[in-house]
């Protein structure tokens, strides 16, 4: 049953591939126009929808790969300590309670999302290299991780455009932190590596969920139909 759901989701991911392409349209539009800030080829609403779909898909795939990884590599007793894995997650200065989230502005929402996305770009790359070092990592996990990593880049671009569109801010410099968070040359022991990767995956899953929730709240605010308080 789990396999079936995994496969189903993969199929969904494949089918939504064109959707991901469309979310990058604004960028092309922007490039075509030679740096003009506004792009009129896609409406802001549609862009937000597609960004949200993107985030949902990323969360779903990340959740699947985390579960797969857990089943494959984590022995049972440690699985029940997974909640404790949250301790090792990097926390960013962004609101975490719903009340706080409801209180912050749209700008802050978008910037939080952007921060989240950017904070995960490098760790995912590290995760890929780490998984490649495994002797028998399932292909599915590796592929999913690769896919998520790529889509996260697209998501970042989309959020940047959204910020530009909605907040009328200038293009942000996509300057990522120069600080190297991970050491790529050092190969830790297998057990340690496994636990570290597991932590990474579960933390990323959590943050993907957060991104999705933030974007949805933003959407709700945009539509102004419901009282998004």
């Amino acid at each position: 049953m789990h396999l079936v759901s995994v496969m189903r989701r993969c199929v969904w991911a494949v089918l939504l591939w064109p959707n991901l392409l469309t979310s990058s349209v604004p960028l092309d539009c922007r490039q075509e126009q030679g740096g003009v800030s506004r792009c009129s080829s896609i409406s802001q609403e549609k862009l937000l929808d597609r960004v949200i779909q993107h985030a949902e898909l990323i969360y779903r795939v990340s959740e699947e790969s985390c579960s797969l990884y857990e089943e494959t590599f984590i022995p049972l007793p440690l699985q029940f300590q997974r909640n404790q894995a949250g301790y090792s997650c990097r926390t960013l200065p962004i609101p975490s309670s719903r009340s706080e989230v409801q209180q912050i502005s749209d700008k802050w929402l978008l910037h939080s999302v952007l921060m989240l996305v950017q904070s995960w770009l490098e760790p995912l790359v590290y995760l890929q290299t780490s998984l490649d070092r495994y002797d028998a990592a399932p292909e599915v996990i590796i592929n999913k991780t690769k896919w998520v990593s790529e889509k996260l880049i697209s998501l970042e671009q989309g959020v940047v455009v959204l910020i530009k569109e909605m907040l009328d801010e200038g293009l942000l410099n996509l300057n990522h932190s120069e600080e190297a968070l991970f050491q790529y040359d050092v190969q830790p022991e297998m057990v340690e590596s496994v636990m570290k990767d597991y932590t990474l995956l579960s933390c990323f899953k959590k943050d993907a969920h957060k991104m999705e929730a933030f974007l949805k709240l933003l959407k709700c605010r945009q539509t102004e139909i419901y009282n998004c308080s």
């Binding site: 949902e56 579960s67 089943e71 049972l76 007793p77 301790y87």
Partner: protein
């Protein structure tokens, strides 16, 4: 720790299990290690067992099903550790959550306020006490302001004197402990009823739980409908549904169904509670449909059974009608086996039926019918045609040399082995109707019966032919069929074999045959009688001694004609069978049922084989027959001094030979 022990301490039953938790632990060794390692990942004391019948298959790890098979029934429950502990923490809306605790075995701490709950999260630097107690429930409620999503919380219980009861596993993230409330407003509408009126589909719809904020997208929820027929205990689960409606197909009219629903956050594992069930039932409007169907089904079944009974009871007749037996190619009176062996001596009217491997009984019957037809044609005088049917079995049995005791067709004739039925009309002129052929026939046909004894008991006029040690039928008593050309007169006339003469004779004096035939089975007496008769009738004499030569015939069914003493006799010989028979019996058996008296004329011509080879034509274009040689009789009575005949040529005259014979 056995399952029973676990249930004994069951505190808070949990119906649902998280994925990848349970199974193996509940069944295996982990229980002993630490109950806290089991089922729930919440700060609770572990659940240990799982109900394998539950359809929460997404929660039941596929990986660990095999061990569970050994434990068919589990119920999930919490194991209560002896010390104070947090039993459960649940969030309903991903914005607030509650935690419950239990004092365990420390009953002195059960009073409100004796235990205090502290928590810490990554935002706080120190342990903080519960923001709001609900003491009657031993519950701590965290409101919006104190609830942070996506960050880990840890819980702790403290008693008096700062005694701390803390478990490292009592840590969680709020989004992971979300169990939404059950959906509300569950109801159903009938979609359609199948044309047969037996099945129908319903559309079930509901609303999201009010506590879950799906409108703003804060929570994404998926639903699971489960339903069951009113009298079963097993719920059927449908696929997870994101919309607030679902169709249930294939419900049966007249049955009452119970439906309930639950939900969970999408891509999470914990389900909320089930809603209150609703009941679905559609009563069929056409009440007579069901009985009508039943009646139809039973009616058709009954008719089928009847037909099968008829077919099975009349199987033989049906087989005859549908698959009429193909009569095997036969020449009446000739045993093909003998032909193959080239023993023309033995060809004389030996029974053929059995030798060919025994056609089916019914085929034999038909064949016998044909023979009877022949008989009828031959003997217009035959009376009692109706009797033929009765006799035909026995007669044709004899003719056909049926090896075994006859089938029921035959049995008609064989019913009374000792009595002498008069009816023998079917027989050809050879027989006196008075002669009870059947009995002797029957007697001989039955295996192992001492024909001799029986035969002897039979009154004189038995013609009987059958005389074989085995059940083979024997005699061929109708010599009418074949008339041998025993010699060709210079004048061009043809001298026929005694068979024909016999026939001619019989027509005139039928009774005369009796003594002849009757005698054969007797010992030496027969031969003497034969001799007497022989002179009376110009018929071929059956040589009682001929039986011994039966050894030439391979099959008991064959009637090996007595080659030696009466080579000419060909016609019917009932040959006593195999050579194993004692010589003592020789005198008695071996007698071909047909007594062919030697006629003076036959002395000259008799003793010729049924078939002779035309060796050449003389100048007058007469056929010069080469009488077959006669074999020397083995110590038999010299009563029938027959000429020594040359060895019989093998085979018939073929056209080639005929051509070669022409001068």
């Amino acid at each position: 720790m056995t399952e029973n022990d676990a249930n004994a301490d069951c505190v808070h039953p949990i119906m649902l299990i998280e994925r990848n938790t349970i199974l193996a632990l509940c069944v295996g060794r982990y229980i002993q290690i630490s109950f806290r390692l089991c089922c729930s990942s919440l700060a609770s004391v572990t659940c240990c067992c799982i109900d394998t019948l539950k359809k929460n298959s997404d929660l039941i790890a596929d990986l660990f099903v095999p061990p569970l098979i050994l434990y068919p029934s589990f119920s999930c429950c919490l194991l209560a550790p002896p010390e104070p502990h947090i039993t459960e923490c649940i969030s309903r809306d991903q914005a607030t959550f509650q935690c419950w605790w239990s004092p365990g075995n420390f009953h002195n701490l059960s009073s409100p306020g004796a235990l205090r709950l502290f928590y810490i999260n990554s935002l706080a630097s120190e342990w903080k006490e519960c923001p709001k107690y609900v003491h009657p429930n031993r519950e701590c409620f965290f409101d919006n302001n104190h609830t942070s999503i996506w960050i880990p919380y840890c819980m702790q219980l403290r008693g008096q004197n700062n005694v701390t009861y803390y478990n490292e596993e009592d840590c969680f993230r709020v989004e992971n402990i979300v169990r939404p409330d059950p959906p509300v407003s569950l109801n159903w509408t009938l979609l359609n009823i199948s044309p047969s009126g037996l099945n129908y589909d319903v559309m079930v719809n509901w609303e999201a739980p009010p506590s879950a904020d799906v409108k703003t997208g804060w929570m994404r929820i998926e639903y699971e409908i489960q339903y069951r027929a009113g009298n079963t205990t097993k719920w059927d689960a449908l696929e997870m549904q994101r919309q607030t409606q679902q169709t249930i197909f294939g419900l049966h009219v007249g049955k009452e169904y119970e439906v309930h629903i639950r939900c969970r956050m999408r891509s999470f594992v914990r389900f909320g509670e089930f809603s209150d069930p609703i009941f679905i039932q559609v009563i069929s409007s056409k009440g007579s449909t069901f009985p009508l169907t039943l009646v139809l089904v039973f009616g058709i079944t009954g008719v089928l059974i009847l037909v099968m009974l008829i077919v099975s009871s009349q199987q033989r007749r049906l087989m005859m009608i549908l698959l009429p037996p193909v009569p095997a190619p036969k020449i009446k009176g000739i045993d093909p086996e003998l032909l193959k062996k080239g023993k023309l001596d033995d060809l004389n009217f030996s029974s053929t039926g059995g030798g060919l491997g025994g056609p089916p009984t019914y085929a034999t019957d038909f064949y016998q019918d044909e023979l009877w037809v022949e008989f009828i044609e031959v003997d217009a005088e035959d009376a009692g045609t109706g009797e033929k049917e009765d006799n035909q079995g026995s007669d044709t049995q004899r003719l056909l040399d049926v090896p075994q005791p006859i089938s029921h067709h035959m049995n008609i004739g064989f019913s009374n082995a000792v009595s002498f039925p008069d009816s023998d009309s079917g027989r050809a002129s050879c027989y006196d109707p008075d002669v009870p052929d059947q009995d002797t026939l029957m007697a001989t046909l039955l295996p192992g019966q001492p024909e001799d004894g029986e035969v002897k008991t039979s009154p004189a006029p038995e013609r009987l032919l059958i005389r074989t040690q085995t059940a083979g039928p024997q005699t061929w008593f109708n010599t009418d069929f074949y008339a041998q050309v025993s010699n060709v007169m210079p004048t061009g006339g043809v001298v026929l074999s005694p068979g024909q003469q016999l026939r001619i004779q019989e027509s005139t004096s039928g009774t005369e045959e009796e003594p002849q035939q009757g005698k054969e089975h007797k010992g030496s007496e027969d031969s003497e009688e034969e001799k007497e008769k022989e002179e009376q009738f110009q018929l071929l004499v059956v040589d009682p001694e001929g039986g011994r030569q039966a050894a030439e015939s391979n099959t008991p069914q064959m009637f090996a004609p007595p080659s030696s003493p009466i080579p000419g006799e060909g016609y019917q010989t009932i040959l006593p069978q195999p050579a194993e028979t004692e010589p003592a019996a020789t005198a008695e058996d071996g007698q071909s049922p047909y007594i062919l008296p030697d006629s003076p004329q036959s002395q000259v011509f008799a003793r010729v084989a049924d078939y002779t080879v035309v060796q050449e034509l003389n100048s007058q274009h007469s056929l010069l027959l080469n009488p077959p040689p006669r074999q020397s009789p083995p110590a038999c009575r010299p009563q029938h001094p027959l000429k020594a005949l040359p060895s019989m040529p093998v085979g018939y005259i073929t056209p080639d030979l005929l051509g070669s014979l022409s001068p």
